[in-house]
């Protein structure tokens, strides 16, 4: 019902008071005050600036529930989130996620990417539904693919000794595209406990396999072929 409705109405019409239960859950589980204060880990949340289409990165010392909501704001289901007078939508449009803050602001050269949005889908979608789902998947991969191509290009120039500045990045991927692409697009809104537990188990399994196969390579080399994956 929601899917068909969203074509005719909008979150500004059917939810004018902008009630968002996710905010309640977030504030219950996460102590944002502590997060901003402690800075144990460098955090970068990605959102999309609605006005300019540009990528926006929020850092640990400024993050509140609003910033998380902005990063997860699906435009047809939730109202744009206002932060400091700017409006934001889901970061997926402009960076899913962004990689450059990890390059510029962290010392470690290793990045372990956990991919969820299927890039490969070896059949052509034929129904309107499947087409729209695939358009969104492609849209939500575009910025990452471009960024990884830039990382690969800079890695190569560094290897050839042609850049006097820059960091050779080591890239790793944990994913389950083979399983995730079998779920319908609507399952992204499925919060059923059984479904979440199933994904949790798949995630643990894949992480286990990844550790066994690649832990020794950390700090030494990329364990994913960037040229093959993103070119």
């Amino acid at each position: 019902m929601m899917d068909a409705l969203s074509y005719f109405t909008s979150p500004y019409l059917y939810n004018p008071l902008n009630y968002n239960p996710l905010r309640v859950v977030l504030e219950e589980v996460v102590e944002f005050e502590r997060l901003r204060r402690e800075g144990t880990i460098k955090l970068f949340l990605c959102a999309t600036d609605v006005r300019s289409g540009k990528v926006k990165v929020f850092k640990a010392d400024e993050i509140g529930a609003d910033h998380v909501l902005a990063s997860t704001c699906l435009p047809l289901l939730m109202q744009a989130v206002k932060i400091d007078d700017e409006l934001y939508w889901d970061g997926g449009f402009s960076g899913n996620p962004v990689v450059f803050p990890l390059v510029y602001e962290c010392k470690t050269r290793d990045i372990v990417m956990v991919h969820l949005t299927p890039a490969e889908r070896p059949e052509i979608p034929f129904t309107s539904h499947a087409i729209m789902n695939r358009m969104q998947e492609i849209g939500f991969n575009a910025a990452l693919i471009r960024e990884m191509r830039a990382v690969a290009f800079i890695n190569k120039r560094l290897e050839e000794g042609k850049l006097a500045e820059g960091k050779q990045m080591l890239i790793h991927v944990i994913e389950a595209e083979d399983i995730i692409r079998e779920f319908p697009g609507s399952s992204r809104l499925n919060n059923g406990w059984d479904f979440l537990c199933h994904l949790f188990d798949v995630g643990r399994e894949r992480a286990g396999e990844w550790i066994d196969a690649n832990f020794d390579r950390l700090g030494i080399e990329s364990t994913v072929d960037l040229e093959e994956k993103y070119f």
Partner: protein
Amino acid sequence: MTSVDSPAAATDAATAKIPVRKVVNLALQGGGSHGAFTWGVLDRLLEDERVSFEGISGTSAGAINAVALADGLAAGGREEARETLRRYWRKISDAASRGIFSPSALDRANPDYGLEHSPGYLMMESLSYFASPYQMNPLNYNPFKELLEEVIDFERVRRQQVVKLFISATNVETAKLKIFEGKDIAAEHVLASACLPLMMHAVKIDGHYYWDGSFTSNPAIFPLLFNCDSPDVVMIHITPADRPGVPTTSPAIMNRMQEISFNASLIREMRTIAYLTTLIDAGKADGAKRAFMHLIEAEDLIRTLSWSSRLNGDWAFLTYLHKLGRERAEQWLNANLDQVGVKSTVDLYAKYF
């Protein structure tokens, strides 16, 4: 790759009082009928003998303008190129006036050139949510292919060596971008680059399926930097990046989602170019080419047009955009031609960061 000692070259040209000749690359965005703006820009640039083109990268409507320009240049030079572009846009308009997307009298009275009062458009728009092009058009009849082949001699496009052509499409199965080069380009490749997934079947080329290039590159800049000698790229933007305010109706939200999506790759690529340029200027990059970026656009006006106007082929609308394109190209020539080969005339940090 060549490195160009441009400031010196520019000074020489000025002191010798010989007519300035500038060779630039072109990057042409997609945007359906709004591509008539690009037609106007190209029309004006072709009039000015001081400017010539080396590489052209195009997506969707940008790809069509690119092949029309290349074909015309190869067939008979600048005047012929202007003629070929005009012929294409005239034919598209004639076809549109016979098609279901022709604007109604109400639409014609509308200042934003939308088709919200065209029965055909309304039917198509609501239908496309429930029925896909594979259901509505199972035989995959596409009159657009015939039109392209009527106007453009693709055999000549593949053979010509006047300009280097790069056309972007999106691989449906891998989500990756695909660049087709001049020697391979046929009508299918242009259709692939301009394939709107909810209106046309994916286009099959060499066993792979393609959609509109705008999802992954609108257009791609790197082929111009890697494959061309000229360090200058003149971008012609027609997909609005900046749009003040928040869209609150579903069609407006969907339109903005698509605009953002269709700008995301370009923004990312320009950020990479800006980063490398900083390294090059600091003397920290060996053998890399210093690019000079330029921009011709009319965002201020194009963003006031209705989203459905991208499907409006009404001649009055197309010629309005054409005139606007000529005006903006002329302003750009007057303000920036001297800087071509010398420096960027668009601030990448202000625009893309």
